[in-house]
């Protein structure tokens, strides 16, 4: 086993110093904390990569009495399980991030939107929240966190769909603008951050922005928690530096026969072996995290795997999990699935794949939310790189 990549331990180190860190951070001016976040270069770890400090700043500027802080724990991207791990091992870091955000933007209420598949985490999490509330009372911060349970819908990881869901509606993404910092949960300014993002803020509060910024490359700063699965002898959660080369990653985690890596889950890109060396994992560059709930999914496929089956499985997933409201996503996902089946069976000529590639591109530019837009990522990268496998 190679060890090219440095394993980091910022997020999972359990430091038992929440009270000190919070006291220290609360003592700072709001602007100072926001500036620290901005200069740290921290970007949303859900995948969309919006600068966290800027998000907080926008919400802080909104002149409205009622605001909300929401932790997005609707981790549903296939191949992703890091948020579960963070919430079960270092929940106080996530809660601290929420509390600091609440203080800065002026929110009294926070929610953790926890996917129903993680219901088993709830009892322990409730205990931690209760203890955390006591800590907040001693620090004189009027802020309470509740858990809101999801009910089984991948799309609710999309932030506006998540609000709709909390409002008792179908989890259908909204038109944007307006954005959550103006019009979020119940129409109020809302900061919604991924579990991992909030946990990172804790490290920044503790060690300052520079230490975070020292990690990573260019505009992909800090460390990132990766969920590694598939054909690997060592599946699991790894905190690695942003900006790593995919080749190094495969050398460390592959089984020696890696044929492709799916970066960013079903809504991410599939990178074939020949491109491992040219691929860097970060927001910039050809590859980035997903634009949907969770970034950091790394699924490795070895040469025994049929990429047709892989794509079929992804498309099965999207056909079911599309909310169904917008045409390109609802009908497009079905057409992609039925289309590759037809080509495989010989009912459509192989050139039909080109029509499907055009369709995927149309979905990318016209779909209402990140789900429909990102179906093209996996579809096009698999069909383009493994075209033969789609036909024969």
């Amino acid at each position: 086993m190679n060890k090219n990549l440095q394993r980091l331990d910022l997020i999972f180190k359990n430091e038992y110093d929440t009270d000190i860190i919070l006291k220290k951070t609360f003592a700072k001016k709001n602007d100072e904390v926001i500036n620290d976040l901005i200069s740290s270069g921290l970007k949303g770890r859900g995948g969309a990569g919006f600068p966290t400090g800027l998000k907080w700043k926008l919400a802080a500027e909104a002149q409205v009495d009622e605001k909300f802080v929401i932790c997005n724990a609707d981790e549903g991207e296939p191949g992703t399980f890091k948020d579960r791990e963070i919430l079960s091992s270092v929940p106080h870091k996530v809660l601290s991030g929420m509390a600091v955000c609440a203080k800065i933007i002026g929110a009294q209420k926070g929610y953790i939107y926890l996917r129903s598949e993680y219901t088993f985490l709830k009892p322990q999490l409730l205990k931690v929240i209760e203890e955390f509330h006591q800590l907040l009372d001693t620090l004189k911060l009027n802020f309470r966190v509740e858990i809101f349970m999801g009910s089984g819908a991948y799309i609710c990881g999309e932030e506006s769909a998540l609000f709709e869901s909390m409002e008792g509606k179908r989890g259908e993404p909204r038109n944007k603008p307006p954005f959550p910092t103006d019009f979020g949960y119940k129409g109020k300014p809302t900061v919604i951050n991924n579990v991992e993002t909030l946990a990172h803020t804790y490290s920044i509060f503790k060690y300052g922005p520079d230490k975070f910024k020292d990690l990573g490359i260019q505009d992909s700063r800090g460390s990132k928690v990766f969920s590694v699965s598939g054909d690997t002898p060592i599946p699991g959660i790894y905190e690695l530096e942003f900006g790593m080369s995919l080749q190094k990653f495969v050398d460390d985690f592959g089984d020696g026969d890696s044929k492709a890596v799916q970066v960013g889950g079903a809504s991410g890109f599939c990178v074939p072996r020949k491109r491992f060396g040219k691929t860097v994992i970060g927001y910039q560059g050809k590859l980035r995290g997903t634009s949907l709930p969770t970034g950091g999914s790394m699924m490795i496929f070895n040469s025994s795997r049929s990429m047709y089956n892989v794509l079929h499985n992804y498309l099965d997933f999207f056909v079911e999990e599309s909310c169904g409201q917008c045409t390109p996503c609802r009908v497009g996902t079905q057409q992609l699935l039925i289309g590759i089946q037809a080509v495989k069976k010989g009912e459509q000529p192989s050139a039909y794949l080109d029509k499907l590639l055009d369709l995927a591109e149309a979905m990318r530019v016209t779909a209402k939310c990140g789900l429909g837009q990102s179906v093209a990522n996996s579809f096009s990268s698999i069909v383009e790189n493994f075209r033969e496998e789609m036909i024969y």
Partner: protein, 159 residues
């Protein structure tokens, strides 16, 4: 009917009667009855002063809110990519054999329902399944048989 009414009223008292209470109320009904019946939805609509169709529309959006009766233990086997790669089909076959039902069905004694589900977030430990809220990972056919036997034994002991 009276029981459902009571259940819904209790949940509405607990969670409130605004739209934001809808999902918690529906989850509460499922927790109690494994599914949300027509009668239950009408009662929810009445309590929240919304249309019954709206309750139906919301409920059917979420895959954990069932509108048809399920067994006491709902088994959800992950069918997403890595669990598929690591043999979820064998797991389902084994469950079908042990429970003597097909995927999607409920046992005659209404104890077990066997379903597939999308990613459970246990990809590094696939194949995985949930039995109600409890996750089971790194499944093998043998392990699955043992787990089901344990549940069956629990039921026998409870009687």
């Amino acid at each position: 009917m009276a029981e459902v009414k009571q259940l819904v009223k209790g949940l509405a008292d607990l969670h409130g009667r605004s739209m934001e209470s809808l999902l918690p109320i529906l989850q509460g009904i499922v927790h109690q009855e494994q599914h949300i019946s027509e009668d239950a939805m009408v009662e929810v609509a009445r309590e929240l002063n919304i249309s019954a169709a709206q309750v139906y529309g919301t409920a059917t959006f979420y895959s954990f809110l069932h509108t048809k009766p399920l067994g006491k233990y709902v088994i959800r086997v992950c069918k997403t990519i890595t669990c598929m790669m690591h043999g979820k089909n064998q797991i389902i076959e084994e469950l079908e054999t042990v429970l003597k039902i097909n995927l999607g069905e409920t046992t005659h004694d209404r104890k077990f329902t066997l379903l597939e589900t999308n990613c459970l977030g246990q990809c590094h430990k696939g194949p995985a399944m949930l039995i109600n809220d409890e996750p089971y990972t790194e499944l093998t056919p043998e392990k699955v048989r043992e787990i089901i036997m344990e549940y069956k034994q629990k039921e026998i002991n409870a009687n």
